[in-house]
């Protein structure tokens, strides 16, 4: 069996499953946030009763992250809906925006977008926060009400996005009926050359198979090239399985995975036991391809979809109005450090927004140094508008006052994961997706730029 099949077999109490089987699986974690949480809770209460109790309060993780730092009244209300539910159900893992369990969240416009406006438990983007807070474990089944839930496949688990109705069902029963997907294998050889990042790997693959090329399928990453990637890089790649239409992305768990998970579960006091799925010899794949990472070059997905691939060096003619670094796939500490390497000691030529994925990334960047200066200050000195308020922000547009939102027909290069029309705001805007290196180099020149010329 493939990794996905092994995990789904175990979660459904079977010895074997095969692609195409419909099975009831037990969820290990249900993740939700401020955009889909209130609706999922609404479904749960409508179907199971106003006084119903969730199936297991220790297995529900609620991380508000989408529309937080906005004056939009409904957005602020939705955070309050989550708080009420967490209180009523006695949920341990609700990462509230404010510290007062009796309070109400209201963003203070007068204090601006840049300075921290949240309490001590607030995390930021759910997919980045989930592993940091010790909720990802090899061999488990994670469902989340967000399509980028597949990012947790980096930790050797089955992780996929679902809708509110399915989430409401899980809240009541802990189970979901799903179809076992076929698996596509991507076998990575060698290591990434200088200037090329994990984002370039996944943009290349999506360019090859098409952005519906993995529809209904699992994308399994293997080989020495996969082992050589660190956890942040694996997350970047697993995150964008959905951009190829995939049901999930998955890496085999290895020493790096165990070290990360063990440290995080210990530090956070979360469940520390897990049973990883190991690679079988008798795997059946619907697709199998070898990629030599050493041959990859900086890659861009052009407007208007993530499969619209070109090499960065062929797009120098594309003039840009804005650069953006952030999101689950592109707002991790390593993403900002890479960005800082390129802009260190220089000034960006176009307006450039930086939104760390989580509060931990904010503190990492203030502590980590490039020479004498903190990474945070390197970015500020280069002219990047950095916010201390971690969130999804303009990656998906959001309310009008969202930090970095494209409120006009601008052309933007972004380290995020999606560039459909209107994704980051105005439906006349154009978004080019690229690695943090490429976004940084392009911010310095004002046009799409191959970053290798800035990295000696």
């Amino acid at each position: 069996m493939t990794l996905t099949e092994k995990i789904l077999a175990k979660a459904s109490g079977r010895n074997r499953v095969a692609a195409g089987d419909n099975v009831w699986v037990n969820a290990d974690i249900l993740l939700t946030h401020d955009v889909c949480g209130p609706g999922s809770i609404g479904v749960f209460k409508r179907e199971f009763g106003q006084n119903a109790k969730v199936w297991d309060p220790m297995k529900i993780v609620i991380i508000p992250d989408h529309y937080i730092f906005t004056a939009d009244r409904l957005s602020n209300r939705n955070v309050d809906v989550l708080r009420e539910f967490a209180k009523e159900q006695g949920l341990s893992y609700f990462y509230d925006v404010i510290d007062d369990p009796e309070g109400h969240w209201a963003f203070n416009v007068a204090r601006g977008q840049l300075r921290r406006q949240h309490g001590s438990r607030y995390q930021g983007v759910c997919h980045a926060a989930l592993p940091q807070r010790g909720h990802t474990r090899p061999g488990e089944v994670l469902f989340g009400t967000d399509s980028h839930t597949c990012m947790a496949g980096a930790f050797g688990e089955f992780a996929t996005g679902i809708g509110n109705t399915d989430a409401g069902f899980i809240l009541g029963t802990g189970k979901l009926l799903i179809k076992v997907p076929e698996t596509m294998r991507f076998y990575l050889e060698a290591e990434l050359p200088k200037g090329v990042m994990a984002k370039d790997v996944i943009l290349n693959v999506i360019g090859d198979i098409g952005f519906d090329g993995a529809t209904y399928r699992a994308m399994q990453w293997e080989g020495p090239g996969a082992s050589a990637l660190d956890m942040d890089d694996r997350m970047t790649i697993a995150n964008m399985a959905i951009e190829a239409g995939g049901k999930n992305g998955i890496f085999p768990a290895d020493k790096k995975t165990f070290a990360y998970v063990d440290e995080r579960t210990r530090a956070n006091g979360t469940k520390s036991a897990y049973e990883p799925a190991e690679l079988d010899r008798d795997q059946i794949f619907a697709f199998d391809k070898v990629y030599d990472l050493s041959k990859l070059e900086p890659t861009v997905a052009m407007h208007p979809n993530p499969g619209n691939r070109a090499l960065a060096k062929t797009l120098e003619y594309v003039r840009l109005d804005r650069a953006y670094i952030g999101s689950c796939t592109g707002g991790k500490t390593s993403d900002f450090v890479a960005f800082a390497e390129v802009v260190n000691g220089k000034r960006v030529q176009i307006e450039t927004y930086g939104v760390p994925a989580t509060s931990e990334v904010v503190s990492d960047l203030k502590q980590a140094r490039l020479g004498e200066t903190s990474v945070w200050d390197v970015l500020i000195d280069a002219g990047v508008m950095m916010t201390e308020n971690a969130s999804c922000a303009a990656c998906l547009g959001g309310p009008q006052d969202t930090f970095g939102r494209l409120n006009a027909p601008l052309t933007c290069i972004s380290a995020t994961n999606r560039n459909f029309p209107g994704r980051m705001g105005s439906k006349e805007s154009k978004v080019y997706l690229a690695s943090p290196y490429t976004v940084a180099a392009s911010a310095l020149t004002g046009h799409v730029t191959d970053p290798r010329e800035f990295l000696s």
């Binding site: 009831w24 889909c36 479904v43 839930t149 399915d166 519906d212 209107g422 994704r423 439906k427």
Partner: protein, 181 residues
């Protein structure tokens, strides 16, 4: 009883993603709150680029669409997992979509909510029909008739009883998976 649906169709291209179906700024609306459900419907398809789609899906000032059937190309509903997408279409009055193919989560959400029938076409209908043409879907025979021509649709198989039950919960109750209300 024979079940048929007659309506003018709205035709869209390949790869209509969830941001075009319901732009992210409207995700503040919670679908289980009745007045917000209605509001979601009024914004359905508002993310389509105006130059490519000069005919409005929902007329200005209206809250419902006149098109109960959408004819789409490949990969309809790609992008986010937001259930707001099929819900906004259902709330706007859409009863069926006939697409060449669907993105996985959109298809599943359509079934789980029971909001609409996600039919798959056997041919590329978007090149044969235009917005405003009248279509008749025959659910008993899995066909769509447009401009005097009858086209076979792929039967929905396993998921059809879920939609006909009114979604995942009703289906799970009927099959004894969860207790009745």
């Amino acid at each position: 009883m024979a079940k048929k649906l007659t309506s003018p169709v709205y035709v869209v291209e390949d790869n209509i993603d969830t941001d075009q179906i319901i732009p992210a700024q409207y995700l503040t609306l919670v679908p289980t709150i009745p007045e917000e459900y209605e509001k979601l419907g009024s914004y359905a398809m508002v993310g389509l680029p105006d130059d490519l789609y000069p005919i409005e899906f929902i007329k200005k000032g209206a809250t419902k669409t006149g098109y109960k059937i959408i004819i789409a190309g490949k990969n309809f509903g790609c992008g986010s997992s937001r259930e707001h997408a099929p819900i906004s279409l259902g709330a706007a009055g859409v009863e069926a979509i006939v697409a060449e193919s669907y993105a996985r989560i959109f298809f599943r959400n359509s079934v789980a909510t029971g909001e609409l029938y996600p039919y798959e076409a056997r041919e590329r209908l978007i090149e044969r029909v235009k917005t405003g043409d009248i279509a008749i879907i025959d659910f008993d025979n899995d066909t769509i008739e447009i401009n005097g021509q009858v086209h076979q649709l792929k039967p929905m198989g396993d998921v059809r009883p879920v939609i006909e039950a009114g979604g995942l919960f009703n289906y799970a109750r009927q099959s004894g998976m969860i207790p009745g209300p």
